[in-house]
Symmetry: C2
Subunit: 292 residues, 2 copies
């Protein structure tokens, strides 16, 4: 697969150095072609200072930067030449297959919706996140783009999530569940009750309401929620992953004998840690359906 | 402390046998006096069959049972003589200091509100749960009694939670946070925005919005939420605890050398498991403030 990924060189904490380092790792490990947007001079300087080789990585000049403090809508006006806007424009022009940014989530949602544009008929963009389960992963959406949702929006999130899991993750007939406080169709607030009715008739494998208790075990492939609830689920998952890992580490380092025991488990624990301890939620993946 | 605890003998799965076994353990370990409600003959029979001694445990006859399928309001009418209703009545008459039931949550909320009655001025009862953190625990409320809440209800949950943590758990000036999708006062839905304003003026140590990411680490002593959000937090915590424990178990039992390593960690892991793997949410503690 000859994939080209566009990267926002100035998104996120410690940009552009950490972005450059990450791009280097990706280029070496996955053999994808990469294009980084941002102030070309600054990118080159940062790469040189950090001794990061830019071999096989192209740069695309974008003179401006948009910060998380700024009005997300300014990506269309004052900051239309920021590294994020330029990256999204390149994506919309077919210059790449995906765009990655660790920058302002709000600006990314606005920019994605207005520059790359939504799939025809889709009312709102959603933030979709893959979360690990014991046997794979599930897609959570909306993880926070739309705090307030209407029932039809949840149906569309289900359609997009299902299509993604089927085409990209090769899950056949992905199970789509609505995150709710009980399994019965009458559970939840007005939003969930109405969404349940619509989702039952939607063109995907709707398995009904799914309780938050069953989501982490992999009960569904796609967990649909309004952005408020989804954001709580995402952040609690991160927080618990980190907090429980700390507790486990405490057990391992309690005494000499536990440290000795832990030696035999290092590899497995390392995998566990990699899967669970995500540094923060700032890194969002903007994805599109193929053949839109 | 000479405490008397009233127990619903017919609440929860596998009642009354499991309830009797649990009561026996409590009587032996904590030296509290216990009173179990339910059909006296059936309780005695079950105790005999399971070889559970009733020494030091009193029984109080209640001929009826209310199931989770029944209308919660029936605890006041058709089922006013069920084991739960009788237990709550005994509590309201001062026959005990606390009441424990693993039965219908809905009936428990209705019965607590109407039989024991709410603290004067408190609009709604909340389900409060203690959740472990690396350094102790925090109280989550409302964990699901009121799916839909008004801002004033959240303020009252903060007052009750703060009083509990201060008086019962001896936390001085407990930190009370509002679970939200961001720290700024303007974050969240209308409910959170209005509640924030009111909580900032409330008679407790309001530390502002708390993100779900920071809750499991113990950022606050009392985490306030509407019952929908709180229920999601509770159940996701349970589900992740169980799912992550399974993954860790998988690491430990992967090969002979990892099993050998795990031997050195058994005690610590056992504690971890005890703290995290709760069998289900059916067991709710109904608590009251002292000196109401």
């Amino acid at each position: 697969m000859d994939m080209k990924i566009i990267i926002d060189g100035f998104g996120g904490d410690r940009a552009p150095v950490e972005v450059l380092k990450g791009a280097r790792l990706a280029a070496d490990q996955y053999h994808v072609s990469l294009l980084i947007t941002g102030d070309e001079e600054k990118l080159k300087q940062a790469a040189q200072q950090a001794a990061v080789s830019l071999e096989g990585i192209s740069l695309h000049h974008a003179p401006d930067v948009i910060s998380v403090e700024e009005d997300p809508a300014s990506i269309m006006k004052e900051h239309k030449n920021c590294s994020m806007a330029v990256g999204l424009r390149l994506l919309s022009e077919g210059e790449g297959d995906a765009f990655v940014s660790a920058g302002s989530t709000g600006a990314l949602v606005v920019g994605s919706s207005l520059i790359v544009k939504r799939i025809k008929g889709i009312k709102r963009a959603a933030l979709a996140t893959m979360i690990p389960t014991p046997n794979g992963c599930y897609m959570l959406l909306d993880a926070g783009a739309n705090a307030e949702c209407r029932p039809e929006m949840l149906v569309q999130f289900g359609i997009m999530g299902s299509a993604y899991m089927e085409r990209i993750r090769k899950v056949s007939s992905p199970k789509v569940g609505l995150i709710n406080i009980g399994e019965e169709p009458t559970k939840g607030l007005e939003l969930q009750i109405s969404a349940y009715e619509l989702m039952a008739k939607a063109p995907f494998n709707f398995t009904g309401n799914v309780e938050a208790r069953d989501v982490p075990g992999g009960a569904v492939d796609v967990a649909v929620a309004d952005g408020f609830t989804g954001n709580i689920v995402l952040k609690l998952t991160e927080g618990l992953g980190s907090s429980m890992s700390k507790q486990i580490k405490g057990i391992f380092t309690k005494s000499i004998s536990t440290k000795f025991g832990a030696l035999f488990l290092l590899k497995g624990l390392d995998e566990f840690k990699k899967a669970w301890i995500t540094p923060n939620t700032a890194a969002h993946l903007y994805w599109e359906l193929p053949n839109r």
